[in-house]
């Protein structure tokens, strides 16, 4: 028994050392990044901008609709308060976005959550690792906070990098082949999404094939408790949280106005959070969208940001 125990331990430890040695040798160096121009880097830009932020600020959090819809520069111009985004991809996981955002919430801050029609309640480790390449402090922080999750998933990054190194920059955008999914689409200083988007690049039919639905059934216990905890933590720090709707493309919503009002009312009562806008104020026709019914083009982004920022102003001056 002893022989087996010692030999198997020796094997496991040596394989583990090699595996983690190789993986961390691939992910840690800041030089020679394989995914330096990956869309996921946008998240790091947003993170670093928040790290540098001083004083009262506005943080809009969520999924890709945050990056595509909220212009932080315009938000700042209208409200007079420095504005930041934290959200580039719903697949990064709802928990991850909320816990990351909470690190930067301080007294006097305003947090805007464009109420997402469903909850993605975990950690999208593939996307998280992709964004963290070469960001040593963020990698070590993440390992410290989530050791099991981090160490059991970091291997997938190693393989991606080996593949990218052997077969060229194939995975630069990790299957998101459109030009709008690049790190260079973001302002590296502010994390604001600045890629110039004109007329829709996806057909009307394709865009309408994706239906959006808000449902009371989405208020499951996991979603409610996670978001409630986040809101309470923000308030405990002296920050205020507001909801708004993410932009909705006309004709893409399956709900009636009454159903939507019901969802809004449930959200307001469940979380004791006010909505800055009604859904009708952020519902725009097809020509304001770019590549999906929640991703606005540049003109749409301006309209949406103005709607949210103007609605926010009275609350800021209270």
């Amino acid at each position: 028994m002893k022989k087996f125990l010692l030999k198997s331990l020796a094997l496991i430890v040596s394989v583990g050392i090699l595996f983690y040695g190789v993986t961390f040798a691939l992910i840690l160096p800041s030089k020679g990044q394989a995914f330096a121009n990956n869309y996921q880097k946008g998240f790091v830009y947003q993170y670093r901008a928040l790290e540098r932020a001083e004083g009262k600020k506005i943080i809009t959090i969520g999924a890709s609709n945050v990056a595509f819809n909220t212009d932080t520069a315009l938000m700042r111009e209208i409200t007079g308060v420095p504005a930041y985004n934290l959200g580039i991809h719903g697949g990064m996981g709802y928990h991850y976005i909320l816990e990351t955002a909470l690190k930067f919430v301080d007294e006097g801050d305003t947090v805007i959550y464009p109420f997402w029609h469903f909850s993605e309640d975990d950690y999208g480790m593939g996307l998280i690792w992709l964004s963290l390449e070469g960001e040593q402090d963020l990698i070590f922080d993440f390992i410290k906070e989530h050791p099991v999750k981090a160490l059991s998933t970091v291997g997938q990054f190693g393989l991606k990098k080996v593949y990218a190194s052997i077969l060229g920059n194939k995975l630069d955008t990790d299957s998101l082949d459109m030009a709008c999914y690049r790190a260079s689409c973001f302002d590296a200083e502010t994390g604001n999404y600045i890629y110039e988007r004109g007329t829709p690049i996806v057909s009307w039919d394709a865009m309408h094939a994706t239906k959006l639905a808000f449902s009371p059934a989405n208020f499951d216990s996991a979603f409610v408790s996670t978001l409630s905890e986040f809101i309470s933590a923000c308030r405990a720090k002296g920050a205020e949280v507001y909801f708004t709707f993410h932009s909705i493309m006309s004709g893409s919503l399956v709900n009636t106005a009454e159903e939507l009002a019901e969802v809004r009312s449930i959200a307001e009562q469940t979380f004791s959070v006010e909505f800055l806008n009604d859904a009708s104020e952020v519902t725009y026709p097809f020509e304001y969208y770019y590549n999906s019914p929640t991703h606005l083009n540049t003109a749409g982004m301006k309209r949406y940001t103005e709607a949210v920022a103007n609605a926010l102003v009275p609350y800021l001056t209270k």
Binding site: M1, K3, F4, S8, L11, I12, S14, V15, L18, F19, V22, G124, M125, G126, V148, S152, T153, G155, Q156, G158, L159, K160, Y163, L167, K170, L171, S175
Partner: protein
């Protein structure tokens, strides 16, 4: 608790080391506790289903056993033949009723839990009613352990062995963690002695079991999960948005996915059980190298096939109506043997289809495979004649290879029904396969290049292993490895473990394909 989670590895380490450290007489009890904990991890409430079925089978088997004893006692001193047969018939009737009662309870539970919503759904669609589906959650492994309970009961009823006296030992037989979730459907007689026996730590046996389990991990985490990344989107959408060649490749890969997933699980279960000193049944024997569909089903999910053969096929053949059919066709030897066989096969294959899931696509899959087997049975005399007339041609390597490819093609086409779980999606998959657009296929290959490279390389190992095992005239590969020099063995172990860690696919979940059945 899936075998591929860290939680399970910790659980197994505790069970394994505890098993050899505690006094030997408590080993089986330790396994029972471990098995119940393991099962409760899937969902705590599911343990009541497991214990309920165990209690029913145990009670009914003991009842049958006591009736058999009473029958023996009643026959002592009785010399009149008529009296003897009367007593026998009376007890046999009682025993039959006990079996029927147990079957009604066990099969009834399976039908209610697994098929209620399927039946309701069909009633709704036939009578155009509003949905009244019920919120029923099926406990994981229910089909497997109910079948194992039924097999045990029928064997006791048939007098093949005596009913187990100790409730807890019987509970271990059903709930034993390597087989409770998705088999193999172990025969009580074959496994009980080792399951309840005491075991010393045997270094060679433990290493051999660990190697087998590691190979299973490779099959699941690397081969099956990487394939899953490539094909999930295609299969689940019924091929929508994909062109024909991509769909065809996905279905072929599905064949390897389900094989690597299911046989990988078996390798882990068999390997871990071997480490504990308890050999459990093999469930696969290089099935994709079969030369016809009947052979394929003797080599794929072996214990399920054996279960249906022992408890359904032979039961139907022995039934009074099959005897009546035989009598009716007594003038034709061919019809007298073929018609009942075809009837029994039709029932078996309909049930096998239904067993896999409460959906028409699974039933169609069962009928599809059954159809080929029935056709083979009907045409058997023709094949015999041809084989006798052209022995060289039919015995040639070319013909063997052709038959293997033909069988694999038939099996793969069958997956069009099986993979989607819905006839409409299967139809869409079939239709989509006809629209070939080369540029789309190249794009599909390019999008999945990384996974396809890993899949391609690892499938070479899988297929090589199958060819090696199928030859049957060579020692098991594990034994060959065990005879190598230390550095060769250690390098192989090292490479295998590293490959599992480095080439495994993430974000595809821990569940195995057969959990849902």
């Amino acid at each position: 608790m899936s075998f591929t989670t860290l939680k399970f590895l910790i659980f197994f380490a505790i069970v394994f080391w505890g098993y050899f450290l505690i006094p030997k007489r408590f080993q089986w009890a330790w396994l029972l506790v471990g098995s119940l904990v393991f099962y409760a991890f899937s969902a705590w409430w599911a343990i009541f289903y497991l214990l309920g079925t165990i209690t029913v089978s145990y009670g009914c088997a003991r009842w049958i056993q006591s009736l058999s004893l009473k029958q023996k006692e009643s026959l002592v001193g009785v010399k009149d033949k008529n009296e003897k047969s009367k007593i026998k018939a009376s007890f046999e009737r009682k025993k039959k009723w006990v079996v029927v009662l147990a079957l009604v309870l066990l099969v009834g539970l399976l039908v209610v839990v697994k098929y209620t919503n399927f039946i309701l759904k069909n009633v709704e669609s036939v009578f155009h009613l509003d949905s009244f589906a019920l919120d029923i959650v099926m406990p994981v492994g229910l089909s497997f352990y109910i079948f194992q309970n039924i097999g045990y009961l029928i064997d006791v009823y048939r007098g093949q062995y005596e009913a187990e006296k100790n409730y807890f030992k019987f509970a271990l037989y059903i709930s034993y963690f390597p087989h409770v979730l998705q088999g193999p459907l172990d025969d009580y007689e074959a496994v009980s002695a080792e399951l309840y026996g005491t075991h010393e730590f045997d270094y060679a046996r433990v290493v051999s079991g660990a190697k087998r389990a590691a190979w299973g991990f490779f099959k699941k985490l690397v081969i099956a999960n990487q394939i899953s990344v490539v094909i999930d989107g295609v299969i689940k959408s019924g091929g929508t948005g994909h062109e024909g060649l991509s769909i065809m490749l996905s279905v072929v890969l599905y064949a390897f996915w389900i094989y690597a997933d299911f046989s990988g699980y078996m390798d882990m279960a068999i390997g871990m059980s071997k480490m504990l000193g308890i050999p459990i049944a093999e469930n696969f024997d290089s099935p994709y190298l079969s030369k016809n569909i009947a052979e394929y089903w003797r080599r794929w999910h072996i214990t399920l096939g054996a279960w249906f053969r022992n408890y359904v096929f032979y039961s139907v053949l022995r039934s009074s109506w099959c005897t009546a059919i035989r009598k009716k066709f007594k003038k034709s030897k061919y019809l007298a043997s073929t018609v009942p066989t075809v009837l029994a096969l039709a029932i078996v294959w309909l049930l096998i289809g239904m067993w896999h899931g409460a959906a028409w696509s699974y039933i169609m899959h069962g009928i599809y495979h059954g159809g080929f087997i029935i056709l083979g049975t009907i045409l058997d005399p023709v094949y015999d004649k041809l084989h006798k007339k052209f022995p060289k041609f039919y015995g040639s390597k070319f013909m063997s290879a052709f038959r293997v490819v033909r069988t694999f093609t038939i099996v793969t086409i069958g997956y069009y029904f099986f993979a989607t779980g819905a006839p409409s999606l299967s139809l869409s998959l079939l239709k989509g396969s006809c629209h070939i657009y080369l540029a789309g296929f190249v794009q599909f290959l390019s999008n999945n290049l990384r996974e396809l490279i890993i899949i391609g390389i690892s499938l070479i190992f899988l297929i090589y292993m199958d060819f090696y095992n199928a030859k049957g005239d060579k020692p098991p590969l594990g034994d060959v490895v065990a005879r190598q020099k230390t550095w060769v063995r250690w390098t192989l172990y090292f490479v295998l473990l590293f490959a599992i860690l480095f080439f495994r696919a993430y974000d595809v979940g821990d569940a195995f394909a057969y959990f849902r059945f």
